[in-house]
């Protein structure tokens, strides 16, 4: 169907070279390698400190958070943006580097609309790579919908035959759409951009035989900064990666398996030694994630913990030297001047105006109708001072002045209704009755 260019490559590196590198001094910096077919970076002792990076790890001011700019924009620290999208209990991670994009997982079934809306809000019109870390539905449930909505350059899969209709249907879509397919194996690289190294650390060639343990684990490196995305890999996969002598050292860790105590072993965390840890987890989930043991271990290594159940969507940006983190929930409210200024019950649109002097970050904020029978959650979106934005009930492409709920039926009752605007913490900021 879609004729996507096949310029996208996954390069296979020879693991044998790892051994060669092991005995070669000065072969440990992954950043300096040339793109294309390259060996895995050599092992460093676990205790080796990470690159010397400045880490103003604080939530940034709202004005500096990326808006839904059509070009994808650039974050406060520029270049590489990693969005840990709040999809409740599940994973969905968007990487943007210049005009290249990669999506890792898309949350549970039913989350596709949310993910698609978020991607639209970021100006994404194509996904160069889509990674399914493993076939559990809290990771791939939303993927079929997403890869139907955007052209996809390559689909990278853990390739473990799961028996669910969810997985079967996903692969059917990949096949029907003619999306290039790669079964992920340790040592491969995803060639998104020559400046960016994306290494596949897991699964190994002969899989462990457990869906979680055979998760695709990625290490993304830009300059001196690395981010390790662990999927749902647990202690067995961690031990295997350690035994294989992989360089696991990273500055940002997407904590394995939603903070389960059966992942994030102390040995693994010591090797990764992340300054920043991101736990993707839904509030009040059935599993008790994240487990206290995991939080304790992360605190023990001095990692700063961000959680999607508390912080909402988390945006990590880096220029390869400095890392910045922005979250939906920690952004100061800056409420003055922000209000609902119009509610068109028949035209199905609500208008929000920022009469204040500073931009207001609306990421994670909500608009609800009377009785909150319908609630819209803002994607990453910043409203400049003096600007207004209209939220339309129907479908359309989000832009700086118009957002689209994407619903097929009306929200607002023509006989009278009330619109309520609440911030990311649920605090009501403005209401308008019509």
């Amino acid at each position: 169907m879609s004729s996507t260019p096949a310029r996208y490559l996954v390069c296979i590196a020879l693991c044998v070279c790892t051994l060669a590198c092991l005995i070669t001094a000065g072969c440990s910096a992954p950043g300096g390698e040339e793109p294309g077919i390259t060996p895995l970076p050599a092992t460093e002792p676990p205790a080796t400190p990470g690159p010397a990076i400045t880490l103003p790890v604080t939530a940034t001011a709202p004005a500096s958070e990326p808006t839904a700019a059509p070009t994808g924009g650039s974050g406060p620290a520029g270049d590489l943006l990693i969005h840990f999208i709040d999809v409740g209990q599940g994973d969905a991670i968007l990487l943007q580097f210049h005009n290249r994009t990669m999506l890792v997982d898309a949350g549970e079934r039913g989350m596709e609309e949310r993910v698609i809306r978020y991607l639209n809000g970021q100006g994404v019109d194509r996904l160069d790579a889509v990674v399914a870390t493993h076939a559990h539905s809290d990771h791939i449930g939303g993927l079929a919908g997403v890869i139907t909505a955007f052209p996809v350059g390559r689909f990278v899969d853990a390739a473990q035959p799961q028996t669910t209709a969810t997985y079967e249907n996903l692969l059917a879509v990949v096949e029907e759409q003619g999306i290039p397919y790669t079964a992920a194996v340790r040592g491969q690289k995803i060639a998104l951009d020559p400046e960016l190294e994306i290494l596949i650390l897991n699964p190994r060639d002969d899989p462990i035989g457990d869906m979680n343990e055979d998760s695709v684990v990625l290490k993304v490196t830009l300059g001196e900064v690395s981010c390790l995305l662990a999927g749902d890999a647990g202690a067995a996969a961690e031990e295997d990666m350690l035994d294989a002598g992989l360089d696991l050292d990273a500055d940002v860790l997407k904590v394995g398996h939603h903070g389960s105590l059966y992942a994030s072993s102390p040995e693994f965390l010591t090797a990764v030694s992340p300054t920043i840890s991101v736990i993707m987890v839904g509030a009040g989930n059935d599993y008790g994630h994240p487990h206290q043991e995991t939080l304790d271990r992360l605190e023990a290594i001095g990692s700063r913990i961000y959680r999607t159940d508390i912080d909402g969507t988390i945006l990590v940006s880096t220029d390869g030297r400095v890392i910045e983190v922005a979250t939906a929930a920690t952004t100061p409210p800056a409420l003055s001047g922000l209000q609902i200024t119009a509610l068109d019950l028949v035209g199905e649109a609500v208008t929000i105006t920022n009469a204040g002097d500073t931009a207001v970050n609306l990421t994670g904020w909500t608009i609800a109708d009377e009785g909150a029978s319908s609630t819209y959650t803002f994607p990453v979106f910043s409203l400049p001072p003096g600007a207004e934005v209209s939220l339309h009930t129907g479908e359309g492409s989000d832009n700086a002045t118009a957002l689209y709920w994407g619903r097929k039926t009306a929200v607002w009752n023509n006989d009278g209704d009330t619109a309520t605007l609440a911030d990311a913490n649920g605090t009501v900021v403005s209401t308008l009755e019509r």
Binding site: D157, P161, Q162, E168, A172, V174, E175, P180, Y181
Partner: protein, 76 residues
């Protein structure tokens, strides 16, 4: 043949098309969409729940998935 698990559970309540089932023994609690319940099942009913593994269907589904993975891998 396949082992079978049988237990009894009460329909505690039905909200938004989802039935909350509480087994007579233990502290478990689980939910099912009402569409999977027998016609006429209502709040307060006790259900006999029997669960069997379908090895054949499992094998068949796994084979289908594995075949598709192989096909996609060959295609690249």
């Amino acid at each position: 043949m396949d082992e079978e698990s049988v237990f009894w559970a009460s329909i505690d309540r039905v909200d938004e098309g989802v039935a909350v089932l509480i087994p007579r023994e233990g502290s478990a609690r689980f939910t099912l969409p009402c569409s999977l319940l027998p016609a006429g099942a209502r709040e307060g009913d006790i259900l006999e729940v029997s669960i069997r593994r379908d090895a054949e269907a499992t094998e068949e589904a796994r084979r289908r998935a594995a075949e598709r993975i192989e096909r996609l891998k060959r295609r690249g």
